[in-house]
Amino acid sequence: MDFELTDEQQLIRDAVREFAEAEVAPIAAEIDRNHRFPHELLPRLAEMNLMGMPYPEKLGGAGADYLSYVIAVEELSRACASTGVILSAHASLATWPIYKFGTEAQQERYVPDMASGRRLGAFALTEPAAGTDAGAGTATATRHADGYVLNGSKMFITNAPYAEVYIVFAKTDPDRGARGMSAFILEKDTPGFSVGEAEHKLGIRGSSTPPIYFTDCHIPGEALLGEEGEGFKIAMQTLDGGRIGIAAQALGIAQAALDAAVSYAKERVQFGKPIASLQAIQWMIADMATEVDAARLLVYRAASCVDNGRPYSTEGAMAKLFASETATRVAGKAIQIHGGYGYTESYPVERNYRDAKITEIYEGTSEVQRMVISRSALR
């Protein structure tokens, strides 16, 4: 068993860290405070070839392995969790299903623009009454002479106001439940498609997640992704990979909180000495460091499964479950170590704490991850 990253993975980690510290971290608190989407970062993410890291160069990607991509999401999220999820939703949820299930024409039409960062992507599965029970969605796609007509709404759609390509799931045969769901590629500016008001969220406030609406929205037949009725399968397989990206985001948040706690513990003097010399603090730091390291091993293992062509559904679920709950625990302890200052915006740990919580919820709640894991364990 080799626990060493390859040369390329180490260099990618160092370069993304350098980029994140120089250009992402300085605006992280401000975009959080103002609920502002970091438009200025997208061209830089594209220049760094981060928007399509795991896709082949011939399709506009960087041709990196999945583990390198996961490391990049981790490092970006360490500086700014909002930026991490903007990238992860674009690359893992929007680009991947086209790359995996798209026809050659669909791949050529969309993947190069998305992988190179020219067009931002979004993934539209969740509905007001269909979250974890994604198959219960009521948005419909009715066959029309030259395509389909979409009606209904979706909510919590990351990147929606600024995306140009959307993966939309809608029922082509509502009577068949989840099996009647199909996937479509929707372009912005399609008549009948609109974006609602952004949600005011607890965390990841730089990432915009408004609802979207379809009102007699006509899309061409070639917008169908995969076959009719394959939508639920496409959604689940996409989320299997996407949740490794969210696990990496959680890992980055946890590492940021640990870094801040270590730094503060060394500087903060109480009883005439740095609080890092107190056993109560040392034990908290020890637990935090161990959990972060364990989360990293699970996340990297899941990504390694992707790279080696092995099944990764259970491994991805374990990684997301543990990394996300670790992020919340570690960020909570980081606030505890900071004391009253940690409860203020003077230090980043309150943002880490707020950002961490969502990683236990989106792209499959912790409860869903436990379902996936227990099914595998009890098989």
Binding site: D7, E8, Q10, L11, I12, D14, A15, E18, F19, A22, E47, M48, N49, L50, M53, E57, A62, G63, A64, S68, A72
Partner: protein, 258 residues
Amino acid sequence: MRIVVAYKWTCDPEEATVGADGTVDWSRAKPGLSAYDPVAIELARQFADATGAELIGVTVGGKGVGTPIAAKAALGRGLDRVVIVEDASLAGAGPSELAAVLAEVIRQIGDVDLVLTGDSSVDVAAKMVPTVLAGTLGWPAVAEVTSISGQAGELRVERAIPGGVQVLKVRGPAVLAAAADAAVPRIPGMKDLLAAAKKPAEHAELAALTVPARAAVMTVTGWSRPERKARKGQLIDASDPAQAAGELITALRQADAL
């Protein structure tokens, strides 16, 4: 046109720990490109792009400088190829020895019009190698370089001097040490890093080079630390901010700091 950047692969002293007895523990310090060398590479890359020159990295040193990751890290920053001399005898080598080996590699590459270096190395920071290298090659040496233009054989070089910029015309090949802030090094993109493994990395054997006998023209014979001035330890009561500010200004003026 052919440009060489002489770079150093070494550990950052900020990552080393110093024991109570003054011994330095480097075991947890991660090796990397010396801090100012990416500035030199960026300055050289911009000039090479403007002139169509080939950009070659050269490094010489002890164990580790020839590892694949060291070569890829340098190549990922924009070099076209690298030539590496890794030999245990070069660990901790002084400026004369390093310059002698660098000069021989540069001669062997041939037709080199310009050599750039970083402002100083992150570990020693003595700023000697560029000058000794130029002396060894018989070329002019220019430090604090902020801008390069022109063409092979006739360069226009700008250098930072106190209070302004000096503009030089430099004939013939030269060794230029880039100022620490001469350029903002680009952070390598993912494609740059992944392509680095495909670029040529030549490993030259020290024994195969015709390096003059190691009778160094210049030998470092000792080091000493700057004398530390005793601190005054003057505390100002800040309960009245306006009065405290006045006292601070007075104290700074008395100390000739304002």
